[in-house]
Amino acid sequence: MSDASPLQESADPPPPRETPEEQVSYLRAGYSLKSWFFTTDHKRIAILYMVAIMFFFVVGGAAAVLMRLDLATPSADLLTSDGYNRAFTMHGVIMVWFFLIPSIPTTFGNFLIPLMIGARDLAFPRLNLLSWYIYVIAGFFTLYSLVAGGVDTGWTFYTPLSTMFANGHVMAALSAVFIVGFSSILTGLNFIVTVHKLRAPGMTWGRLPLFIWSHYATSLVLLLATPVLSITLVLLAAERMLGVGIFDPALGGDPLLYQHLFWFYSHPAVYIMLLPAMGVVSELVAAAAHKQVFGYWFIAYSSMAIAALGFLVWGHHMFVSGQSMYASAIFSLLSVAVAVPSAIKVYNWTATFYKGSVSFDPAFLFAMSFIGLFVIGGMTGLMLAMLAVDVHLHDTYFVVAHFHYIMVGGTVSAFFGALHFWWPKITGRDYTKMWGGLTAVLIFGGFNMTFFPQFLLGYLGMPRRYHSYDPEFQVLHLLSSAGASILAVGYMLPVFYLGWSLRWGKPAETNPWGATGLEWTVPSPPPKHNFEEVPVVVEGPYHYPLKHPASRD
């Protein structure tokens, strides 16, 4: 575990081209395209997903770059107003459905769930591959709508804009979101059955890593929420194409029905994005502190509570839409309740660090960024859930900052934390820690510089989704754009040092962090069928200190 710089590295004898572990690993089990595109190995499918998802992260990011460039000046100079609408819509659609929702579950979840519970694969390996193909087909629909000229409804597809007025490629984008939903459903189903049926002997529910609990909760939400979105989009299409009156009052529809149905899916969906990230952070915190996590059952059950309560709060998106005051009061109260289990997790992670021998390896820096940024995102969510406050802040940059703190500061940080934590396991190679640490710091700094000014902008009255604004807002907008450029550098750096590690990195040990968990008992990278012999579990998770050669204890 030495922190070698690339310079020292090149002075040493070069690392072997291929280690004995690598020769028998899943990575070397076949080189043909067919062996990748028709694989049923959960680890290879995780890599397929990783490639597809990173592609969309870049495309969605490009739209954000255009927006931040345009917003650097108060006048509308870079994009036309129509172009700006299309940029933020494509940014939202791609980032939500093609990056954030699948991000952690389909990559790290796919790779790790069987390894963590001592199984040789997911319950339905072919279904797993099918869900990747569905994702890719949906991706082509998105790319089509993008190339053909884009969509201008916003990621929320609100009626009547989307049914009566929008003239972009609404149907193509709707189809993309509709199709990708089936991929989500299949993944959720697969994870649930796997956790129920494929746990190794002795792997009781109380011995499951918290990563598994949070993915289990996520899968429940995927199964219960996604069909509602699918049906809603079909109804939307029926009204747009066939003139069936569902949302349009002139045709006998209800003007708020769309928002109810959409947010019945989309608030739970924000927890689809967040819960897996919380699972990652639970693992990282325990490994960083080298301690039993504080309050295992509180963290496990709070995931389940979030999954359930997350369905009861959607009306907080409709406080100023004309929803009845009575309903708004109920949703406001329930929104406060949903913050409790999230807060429980934050307290438990913090308590886990207490008197731990905390490591500052890159993965753990990302975990700590997650905690800090998630707290800000969550607390501002509570502010927005207050009826009177929301009248002032609704549809301003305050809301934009709120959800970016959670979805980018939280989930994307956790994604990068997971990448740095499990990279040696997935690829079998160590990367340069110094670069990882630098990246974590850059991302944390760049993120805050980008999004903190947006809280102020929103509070001062800057509405979201406009590209020209009063000159008094320029300083804050410029700060935000400058921060975004730092953030972009931070997100690009790993391409270089992680890519470098694939060829020149030192071979990774079986358990480079001295962490608990079955995934750290198999070679790095794991063999094709994960375990030589099915492991028998005799103790709970996070059983520190380890009696293991690589342990820090």
């Binding site: 509602v228 149905l261 369905f311 009306g315 309903a327 109920i330």
Partner: protein
Amino acid sequence: MSAQIRTFALVWLALILLLAMTVAAAFLPLGPAKPFVSIAIAIAKASLIFWFFMHLREDTGLLRLAAVGGALWLLILLLLMSSDLLTRT
């Protein structure tokens, strides 16, 4: 076997009867109770389908729980949505 066919036929008849009730209820002067009456009939229909056609009657507790969960979540959607719909001014 024939007993099973008999059961399915009876359930089918019951469903048709309930369908007739739905149609009839649409014409009755029920006032604000109207949606509740039709939802109640719909729940009865769904239960028959769950229990007999989807074989939940023969399944384990966990599978029944999964099915009930789906139905319960639909009720959550309808219930909280009504809190807006029925109290709008």
